[in-house]
Amino acid sequence: MSLNRDQINSIAHLARLSLTEAEIPVYQDSLSKIVELVGELDAAQTAGIEPMAHPLPGLAQRMRPDVVTEKDQHELYQRNAPQVEAALYLVPKVIE
């Protein structure tokens, strides 16, 4: 397999995903297979070819005028919040 346990664990950590002990080999297997699949790209001749970030070439970013268009709707937006107090979103203490 092209990816080992440690790599799976560090990828999962970077992506903030909890994995059970049983899941690790499962993802190790499927991710290794995917890496193998995408390894086919190695064979492609891409010298001198520009990377393509957007499917429609030659377009530039539109800019909007510097105008305030929003009003305070925090009550509506916070209806979906799992934990809110005094309009603040609560999380376990962030230690700096």
């Binding site: 993802y27 991710l31 492609a44 891409t46 429609l56 979103y89």
Partner: protein, 488 residues
Amino acid sequence: MHTLTLSELAKKLRAKEFSVTELTKSLLTRIEESQQTLNAFITVTPELAMAQAKVADATLASGVAGPLTGLPLAHKDIFCTQGVKTSCGSKMLDNFVSPYDATVVEKLNAAGMVTLGKTNMDEFAMGSSNETSYYGPVKNPWDLKLVPGGSSGGSAAAVAARIAPIATATDTGGSIRQPASLCGVTGFKPTYGRVSRYGMIAFASSLDQGGLISQSAEDAALVLGAMSGFDPRDSTSVDTPVPNYLESLNAPLAGLRIGLIKEFFEKGLDASVEKLIREALKVYEKLGAKLIEVKLPALPLSVPTYYVVAPAECSSNLARFDGVRYGYRAKDPKDLMDLYKRSRGEGFGAEVKRRIMTGTYVLSAGYYDAYYLKAQRVRQLINQDFKRAFAEVDVLMGPTAPDVAFGIGAKASDPIQMYLNDIYTIGANLAGVPAMSIPCGFVRDLPVGLQIAGPHFAEAKLFNVAHAYQKETDWHRQIPAVFKGELS
């Protein structure tokens, strides 16, 4: 009423053969009666639908109705609908009620359409079988033991079973076209940037496009115009005028140059499927089209390219789901790290986690050049191939999927097998070109789709070409036996 196309419904509503309220009621009944068997819907919106129907009836009576007034539709549960649960097929958003409407929803509401509900889908649009949904798999109306395709499985099944006359859907690697092919309906993916992505929950930003699953090209042409257009809230939305897609629907096809992608007719394509495709092409020749072989040598690299680019973008797009501001939050997190890891570990399904991890890997230090940059360069090659091809031909045709619908659970254990379902569809997403699938026959009583692709902004041409076929054939009018008549 359920066997009528959207266009036919529009005419009959105007002719007052029935009201919008009656039509809506009857569809809501069909949805209710089929939900256990099909599982095509995640949320049905009867109150909203009836309220919209009432308004539509009044508008029709007053004589100021537009072409879409009173026409019912279903929205793939990836489009944010204000005040209505929007789950994206995931436990992560099971408790999410959207505070706003996606632009697509806003536009179709403004056109007077009636929302029947939100259709089931692969979780976060990741899948080709609608088996990764938190809400359970959707069944193929043609054979309930089989998958409808994905990720827009719910929309495809709903239209195929005629429990909704049309449905919105999204396509990132084939998620409109492949389920349309497997369910015997018409699926349309517009040019990238044609339809606004604002409010369409992002999977892979440079590939996602909103489109339609319908009974016919004519139906899709009727609605796409209202869905399309520049949106200042989407920076990737293109500011070019939207033509009237119905205008050129019946233009004659004489002289049409149809490109056949050599690479698509090589290994991997089921022989019976190929036979049907070639028969469809004969119909086009009869209509005056010319068949020309074209080579797109980089196209076979579509799948590996896609499985670098799409996971990379999705790993970043899905980072916002962290249990802090909305969505699933793990119980009693012991610290911040625990909150993140368990909310995401418990809230996301396996395929989503797989793709997030793949994406994280290909973007990580030391791998970016070899994978992500490389894939973006191959994407450029694929684009160049399409450009070259469209210099020689007007449209490209070929199979939509390598085979017909497969059994639920049959490919679930091997992700690569699942990924290869999109082998013919992914190229159009990488190049941003418009593409569609129309039914062209049956193999072992299961539907087969013909794929048609065109150059950027050739939507009108595609509708014209597809409509011509649908005037000559009636594959698109077939309805699965179980769903032909009234349900009970």
